[in-house]
Symmetry: D2
Subunit: 400 residues, 4 copies
């Protein structure tokens, strides 16, 4: 516990400067669905001003980038974001100052998928699910997107309902068919999730399963780590380090959770965990824009306003990153090598305990951005404007 370690000395000053450079290059991708309505199985609350179509979602996402300068891409979700002309949507995004990011498939909202998609016992349904992914590849070609993100709701609610191993074989075959259609430079990102919506068994429940499938597919397949998709008590930064070591960490879905939910604002439940995750990223030099790790948000804002929720999510990631960048790695390595348990832990905590908000103010001001993006958005009148303008039509949600 020494204030000085992290904040003074020429080495601390160097770290601060290097942090500013790294933070300036950092980007966080936003999910289009964060701007639509969402909720629990009990209720989806609606609020005035919610987008009615993908164009409005992108406009809202662009506000987050406008005030933070760190969120230049928007992930789409198909069919929620289906439009007639994706070229036009991409142009709209460009007009708003952002780009289309990853394309997310959706093979869980059709009655056909009641017993699964790529793992379904019925070959007709499996073929349909494969086709949907090929359609997503087309969307990628039209929007310039590089990443196909695959999250499957496949699983079982009851023991015996289907054969666990046969489903893995079907999954491998379906992924193989999709992978075969990737263009060079495209990636298939396979997400895992501990549970939900399946309640007894999930077909891609853990990083080991996702990685095994990616290894079988080839170098264009990588793992998506959603911070909310682990068993209670899982050491997520360990998984991050492991996937980086295996060279297969393709993307993050950031969010946070206290229990089993997985869509709270990233950093809201356990900011120290988020810092430890970003610490493994920095330690492995994977923050670089060309590291291949896509830092995305995957969140919903059920009861809080959506654009402010996304702004806070971005600034939370920035704060955790800034702290990770301030870790005195030489002092840390020395204490670790010496077996100084409390000393090494102390070096890490010194960085975590630092108030990095002034550093981020400096970063923003150097970029001509508002010092406080949350307050600046609140004062911009945008929320009032969309509430007044977006009258009529059907608010976007998970259904469309």
């Amino acid at each position: 516990m020494t204030t000085t370690t992290a904040t003074s000395g020429s080495s601390a000053s160097n770290r601060r400067d290097a942090a500013l450079v790294a933070l300036r290059a950092q980007t966080i991708e936003l999910p289009s669905w964060a701007f639509g309505n969402s909720g629990t199985r009990f209720k989806v609350f609606s609020t005035p001003g919610v987008p009615r179509d993908p164009y409005e979602k992108i406009s809202d996402a662009a506000q987050v980038h406008r005030f933070t300068g760190a969120a230049p891409r928007v992930s789409l979700h198909i069919p929620w974001d289906l439009v007639d002309d994706f070229g036009k949507l991409a142009a709209h995004a460009a007009d708003e100052g952002v780009a289309i990011g990853a394309i997310n498939s959706n093979v869980f909202q059709d009655d056909d998928y009641r017993l699964g998609s790529l793992c379904n016992p019925d070959p007709r349904v499996r073929a349909k699910a494969v086709r949907h992914h090929l359609d997503c590849l087309d969307v990628m070609r039209q929007t310039g997107s590089r990443d196909l993100k695959v999250w499957l709701a496949d699983g079982l609610n009851y023991p015996g309902q289907d054969d666990l191993r046969a489903r893995q074989d079907r999954l491998a075959e379906g992924l193989r068919q999709i992978y075969a259609e990737l263009d060079p430079g495209m990636r298939l990102l396979l997400e895992y999730k501990f549970f939900e919506p399946a309640f007894y068994a999930t077909d891609v429940p853990d990083w080991g399963t996702s990685l095994l499938h990616c290894l079988a597919l080839g170098p264009q397949a990588e793992v998506v780590l959603d911070t909310g998709h682990h068993a209670p008590g899982t050491n997520i930064e360990f998984v991050v380090a492991q996937l980086l070591r295996a060279g297969r960490l393709g993307a993050f879905d950031f969010n946070s959770r206290f229990y089993a939910d997985d869509d709270l604002i990233v950093g809201a439940a356990d900011p120290f965990q988020l810092f430890r995750i970003m610490n493994e990223i920095v330690r492995a030099d994977a923050l670089r824009p060309d590291s291949g790790v896509n830092f995305m948000l995957d969140q919903c804002h059920n009861i809080e306003p959506k654009i402010p929720g996304q702004i806070r999510s971005v600034t939370n990631v920035q704060e955790a990153t800034a702290k990770a960048l301030l870790v005195d790695r030489e002092a840390l390595a020395a204490a670790q090598a010496a077996g100084d348990v409390l000393g090494a832990n102390g070096v890490l905590m010194d960085a975590y305990n630092t108030d990095v908000r002034p550093l981020l103010v400096e970063l923003r001001e150097a970029q001509g951005l508002p010092a406080d993006p949350y307050a600046a958005y609140a004062g911009s009148g945008y929320a009032e404007r969309i509430a007044a303008d977006r009258v009529g039509g059907h608010q976007a949600g998970w259904g469309a």
Copy 2:
């Protein structure tokens, strides 16, 4: 591990006879909402034949009773089961051979309840939530129901969102107002739930909180134990024993879960746990119909057919109860007193390992019921009939 302990000898024969008597008196209350559509936040799948109104729900519930002989009551959920004339609905139930059971309030599906109901910071919303409960008391008067079951979705998603303690005070006041309007003989049953839909804090998260409020209210307030509403690893039979010791176990909501979901068929995830729960009930002589414990199901059938799902739920509870009734309590007490850890455990396991399905066949045949209710229903043609008949209209679900 001795087959003989549980199945032979005059004392085993006596236990078997006593079990038949107890099982014959056992009743399990069905939830009307189990017969409508339900699902996760990702998708609600629909199937042909699902009821369009409360009358059809009760007709379906009556099928479960017809084939099992053990499910003579149906819980209603207001406003999902709102009808113009509850007297007529009660008469319909009587015609079908069942009765109206507990009335469940619903103060989570109106936009006003975004930040809670009885705990809401806005006194107007709190008053509205109280009024809804008073309306439920009127439904009870019209239907002859004794139990008002109160489950609140109240809670917080983010730390600081509201004041934890102030919310307890508001809750106490709201419950007090409702309790004051109970007729003699009516009960207020307060359910607790570990989490969901609130993600950071739930206002009635554990049995301790529910019990404290019941004790403050008075003798007509009791705790509802939903088997799916506990933290991972909680010893539920301990809670059952504790609430029985305190004289405040008013009802069960039976269901089961593997993770955080709570609506699978009771006994599907951990049949041994269900047996241990029923063992505490039998041990405390709380199986008696006049014990004050209402054994209810609170389940949904997202991907499986609903009437068969309820039939299996009822038979699962019967099987667990039968095993609990077969425990050789003298041998158990002797082994426990002797400190014979494995011997005592062995007595319990002997009962659990017994195949009680023949005993239940005997029970049913003595009552003129089909030996296999699940198969008998499947062969009855009812499913095909409702699928053909119930065309048009709007299938019932959580929204209505």
Copy 3:
């Protein structure tokens, strides 16, 4: 996210001043056993300089107070800290500048307690366990201690091993006998623990059970909340708020954990949780020395040095407390009343994100204490001195 909220303005300045006053009055009690050897079931590692007897433990504890100024009391554990003359031990403590705090009973390390102590099926063992507690009351009389802390290892490893409810009855009777012997002004503090060392059922597993027994005993019985003793995902600050509302939070056992262990340095696993706990304390005005809440550590240092481990524990509690004291309660209440979810959360986070280490430096310097207690201890030569001096004898541990 505004730096200014928590750190500028006259109201922020007032909060800072008030925080300094409150922090100056705050005391944290140290456990004597933190200075002896400890470990897991796999291995207890030893290090040079570990105390050989209770006198040396108290001397070490006094070092923590010497450098932090915030740890003036030491809890004892009987029989680990059994001495011939407790008056002499108390005098030694006074000489070292500290006092004897709570007395912890131990009814789990005798072969007689294999199947429990106060809940044991054998009345002879139960009587022995009661007598041990009466002996502890004598130690309290000799040392001027006010608090008898009762943590029982009682529980079951296998279902059926003993009768859950009979054990509650035995527990109630044993506690009643002990409570009856309390002097005026003495308190019986009953600790609960989710699991361990019992693996199937624990006789005091949750706050509800502990509170029920305390209510039955009378006003001198209160609950101990050990921060490491909850089911995964439990909202501990909710329990704190609930026990304060019930007027029965007698003490904290501070520590932290990632999984099921419960003896890491408090604040090491989840500093945000510790802040939220202290926030409930401050919100209920229970930080006051006369609030009746005894803030104790209950930790072990298996692989790290013990005195530095305790110093960091004390400073971690101070930092969390300082942040809780800086919360702008007026702004928080206003945002909560307005239903401003993110605004209210933001007020809380502003305080959490503040670097309070400079404030604590100011606090210490005003008291003539070293600015950095951890570094000051490291530089004091004490560790080297005890390593050199404490040669021969038997290092203290959990066995003695």
Copy 4:
């Protein structure tokens, strides 16, 4: 729910006959340490008759085989089972009718291993840990053992204490050195464990990590699945199926747990889970003695008698296996293919609900074994004899 499915008809009769054949071939390996004293960090209770040396442990293990006929091998733990002449120990085993099974290394009980063994930051300690494993290979050569079982206690208690990724690199290098010394036919079995004794991070915490290392090592490296070593809620049978699909399930360590402990009698906490695990084994035809899966127990008996505890463990595995063998796989496959959720689940449950104890009596009687091994042992007088004979000396435990 039809009694008939699993127990009548010619196909049921065929399954029964096939089950008898398979059960007769099934073997379960016993851990020598189950016969010594064990306990928690709070207390190790001792009982009369506990072995004083490896010879007596093997004699006790042989009793389990004598009464069950299913436990012909004993795993050793080095150095706990270190003897001067392993050839003599193997001959003693042969005289008793059993053989030496897997050799377990132990690199966690020396002060050098405070910060880890193969992952330790100090290269001297890493080299020492490698050497210990080479010594274990020598024991294997002397005893005819095929399997080197490696479980490492390596991990971190505090964030930052050491570098997560560097530790993986050191681990890979250490394992490589050990693997290089394997004789043809020998296997290195790498066990994973979610947590304990490390509290923040474990270096081999999950099946994914273990498998990655095995894949890097080569075909003689396989994964050990300890049923007690997973995060709460993990679907263990899924992991079994996954490791079988990958061809790398080398062995089971059977035991059970309710919370975080992992050493209760297998099947004691969740017999349905054990059945589901054995169901995946049978489904993959991995029960065959030549399947390469070594079915071992890894348990301790802290409060119950040890030989009876092992006997019950063996019979529990046999009962779960028998039920898995009785599953009507044709009916199951048909229901699964038809998407009949409840039907498929029902086929599985029919087998689970069958009382297989009569089948096991038949199995034993056909082998000339006692029908009830637990009762037969109790009546044999062996327990009384060893209690009388084994006087003096030092009871074996984890320390030796």
